[in-house]
Each structure stands twice: as C-alpha cells, then as structure tokens.
Amino acid sequence: MLEALEGSQALARAVALCRPQVISAYPITPQTHIVENISKLVADGKLDCEFVSVESEFSAASVALGAAMAGSRAYTASASQGILLMAEVLYNIAGSRVPLVLTCANRAVSSPLSIWNDQQDSMSVRDAGWIQLYCADNQEAVDTTIQAYRIAERCELPVMVCVDGFTLTHTLEGIDVPEPEQVDGFLPAYQFSRTLTPTNPISMGTLVSPDFYPEARHSHHQALLNAATEIIAADEDWGEVCGRRYGGLLKTMGDPEAKTVILSMGSVLGTLQASLQEYPQQESIKLVQLRCFRPFPRQAIQQACAGAERVIVLERALSPGSGGIVGNEVLAALSEVETRPQLFNCAAGLGGRDIPLDIVPRLLDAASQATPGHFQILDVQLDKLPQEDR
C-alpha cells in the first residue's frame, strides 16, 4: 500500500526495518529530518536501539565504527560538510572492512556556502573505499537502504546510500514501506567475522608495514570489485520479496537501439524521463541511471552504451581544474570499446539550481554545439560573471 511520506520519514522507517542496534548522528541540513524521524521512532518505542547523539559528524562515524566492531548493526547519516568532516573516519571504516550503512543526503560543499542539493559531498569521498549507491527516487532509497545492509554485511564493506538532499529527502510522495517480515526474511541478523569479543580477543587497526600494505590495499580493491555481484544479487533477491528491481548496477530506459545515450545519477533521472515524454525528440534516446558508482561498473556501462554514437554524461559535481568526475570515468571505460562513442560531459543543478523540465532538449542542444570531451556547467549564466571569469 502506498503511503504519502516525506523522503526522510520513509528513510527512517527503512532504517528501522533493518533493526540497527546503534545509531549515531549529528544534525546537518538536509539530513536532519532523517535522524529526527529515527529519534522519534526510538522515543515512541518503535525502534529498540541505542541512539547516540554525538558532538560532531567525526564522532558520528566513529561511534558507528566502534559499535559495528563490538558486534552491533550500526547506522549513521550526514551530508556535505559533515561527510567531509567524517572523511578520515570513512577511509578508516572502509580500510578496516567494517560493514556499515550511511545515508548521504547529498548537498553542495562550502565555499560558497550552499545548503542545497548537488553531489559534491559523496563525490569527494569516492576514493574512501565505500560502496556508493545513488537513488533516483524515495522508493528506491527505501529499498536500497535495506539492500545496503545485506551487501555491506556479505562483503564486509561499508555502503553509502546517496539520496539527493531536499529533492528527495524533503519531497513527499507515495512510498510502499515494506513489512517487517519481508525485511527480516531478506536480511539475517548482524554477523561480523572480526567482532571484538573477550572470548576470542583480536587486535584491529594495527600498524601495517610496507611488507603488507600493498596487499591490504589490493584485497580492499578486489573486495569492492567483487561486491558488484552482491549488489546485483541484493537487488534481485529483494526484488523477489517486494516486486521492485532497480537494475542492479545501472538501469537503462528508453530505446535500447538509440544512438544517443544520456547517463546520470540520482533524482534527476525522473525529470529526464518526464522531459523525454514532454519534449519528444526526432532521434531516439536511451537513458542510463548509474546506480552504483563504487564499484565503478565499467563493463555494464560499456554494454549500456554499446552501439551508441554519442554519450551525454550529466552530473551533479565537478573536479575544478579537471572537469566532470563521472564523465571522466565513463570516458575511460568507453575508451576500451572498439567503436567508441563521442562523449559530452556537463554538470547541472549545482548548489540546488533547479533542473528544468526541458533538460533533454537543452542537453542535446549543448552537445551538438560542443567539442567532444569538453566539459561545461550546462546552466551557468556567464553574464553574471565578470569578463575575466567567463
């Protein structure tokens, strides 16, 4: 049954369904509603867990890490500056191969200060060694959160579920919240092979000399690559339970034979779909929702773009001085195929700028005018800038 829920409220319910034993968080817009809703579930006795209201995001991630090590399923959530303050701990969690789930309510990173949505925060920690899954709508965010725990615990890797701030977290829409029995059947009780216990004492986080460090890094890298299978399996198996599937690593929509592919991540996919309907194009177009950014699904992207002459990557962050982040990685993946499509890469909707309904014609227009490989901020209004900055 569809319930009308705010994204954050739905996410809180999804987290509660996973029966975490320890939750720690620090408030930050636009994540706040998630942890407020969780706090209320705890206060109302609907979720039995230790809710630790910490004094910083740094401690939020650390408490979750300590809890997971001591044998409890743990959860935290943050955004923007909070993700960056956590950064050191995020690397530590992943390097320790600790299963955790974190919701990133995607938001721009200061400076300039912006509380609104883009994906610069999660992109900035893409090398931390976490699995990163990006959700197109709140139903997917709910289902992905549940899948994330199984993926995390099977792979012994942390999973960051990326949900566009405001655009999803503060949007009320229809959500089918799963039944507790469905989740319990899908997600076994928390088990972690390296749980700290006095009866079998181990030392975690020891110094690792050059004799072993490259091996540790290799096995971490390999674990992330191997996680692709579990990500697909979790989507499949949860699909069996609830009837909803999201394509595993990525989802394609539109004409499978299309010569033009538009690839993006997160909530913009809905607007892209509506845009295609509202503004029918002469050429057929395929949409690719990149759901899993880490591990980066090279082969799946190659397959999704096979036969395309043009790939347009629309992203919500950038690496200043370089250009697109997702775009560069897609470009690298496509460089391995024989008939390599042209790639047009742009960012849009930075810092919460509305991505309008005519986004598809705008993209096609910009792509037809740009030199391939060139990166641009699609919706930048250069006339607002002094001449030398244009």
Partner: protein, 188 residues
C-alpha cells in the same frame, strides 16, 4: 496533472499545507508530490512550496514553474515580485484575505478566504493553512474534502485534529462549491 504553488511565510505551515494536499491525493488512489523550495529562511520570511497531483506516478522533480493554481497564505505576498510568475492564463488564485481583492490581472480568477480569522476563532492560533486547503478543495473539487480530513488524521491526533477538522468544515462553507471546477479543465 495539476500543479499548485503555495506561497506563505515561515511559521504559517506552508510545507505542511503542501504535504497535506499531496497526501490527500493518495487517499483517493491518485498520486501526489509535494516539496518545499527551502531556503535558510526563518520565521516570517516568504517561503514557497510545490504540489503536483496526477492519476499516475509523478516522475519529474523540477520546481513548479507554470502552476494551475496559487494558494497565497498572506495577502501581502501578492505584492512580492515573482509570486504570480508563471501562473497559467485562466488560473485560480486563492488568497488568505479579509476583504475581496481587486487589481489583479483579469487573466486570473481570484477567490479570498479570511483564513487567519477562522483559524484564530476555531484553533485559537492564527495558522491559516488547513482552512485554505479546505476552501481550495471546495472551489476546485479536485479531491473530496474527506481526503483532506483523512490525510490530516494520519498526521495529527487528539484536539489538534478535532479542531482542524472543525476548521475545515467551517472554511468549506465560506466559498462556493465547485466554482472553479471548470477552471481546472481549462488550464489543465
């Protein structure tokens, strides 16, 4: 698909109004979507929220640029630049005001409701949002009033709920039933 933009001030329950309206759609097996145009605003600052209502799932997430209807929770906001922007010709504007309003373009249909006064009388608090929603649904007939009552019942309980239900019933009598029913087919 109907698109509605709600203008209000921080503290007037703008976002809650948008959420309630979208939630009411689900009560009659239609689809709703609501989201705020959030700023870092504090109480009293102008705020905007968007609502879409449709018979099938809503994909788009862009802001509502060309609404069919406006709900204005504070008469003074009519004079804020941009408030009427994009309203479709023939679109309806429901304003929280004590007196009928003149001076708005003839392209639009305007109705008023003294919602703050009604709320003050029945709730004891000057929160106009539910009264305006009741009037809006009565005027447009896009959703039954009962759908709003049910949506309200999922969010509130006890005395707050009872008082708001009373307010909704009272507000619904203050505007002509289905006066805008044709308007929506025109604009939509």
């Amino acid at each position: 698909m109907l698109e509605i933009r709600i203008h209000g001030r921080g503290g007037q329950g703008n976002v809650v109004a948008a959420y309630l309206l979208a939630a009411a759609a689900f009560e009659v097996n239609r689809y709703g979507q609501a989201f705020p145009n959030f700023g870092a605003e504090r109480r009293g600052a102008p705020v905007t929220a968007f609502v879409r209502i449709k018979d099938s799932p809503i994909k788009r997430r862009n802001q509502v640029q060309t609404p069919d209807f406006l709900i204005i929770q504070d008469e003074a906001l009519l004079h804020v630049p941009g408030v009427l922007d994009g309203l479709k010709p023939g679109g309806g504007i429901l304003v929280n005001a004590r007196q009928p309003i003149s001076g708005i373009s003839n392209d639009f249909t305007v109705a008023t409701l003294p919602a703050t006064g009604l709320a003050q009388k029945i709730l004891g608090r000057p929160v106009p949002n539910t009264a305006l929603l009741a009037a809006f649904l009565t005027l447009t007939d896009i959703l039954p009033l009962d759908a709003l009552n049910q949506a309200l019942g999922r969010r509130f309980q006890g005395k707050i709920l009872d008082n708001n239900l009373a307010l909704i019933a009272e507000a619904a009598t203050q505007v002509p039933q289905a006066a805008w029913a044709d308007l929506q087919t025109e604009v939509a």
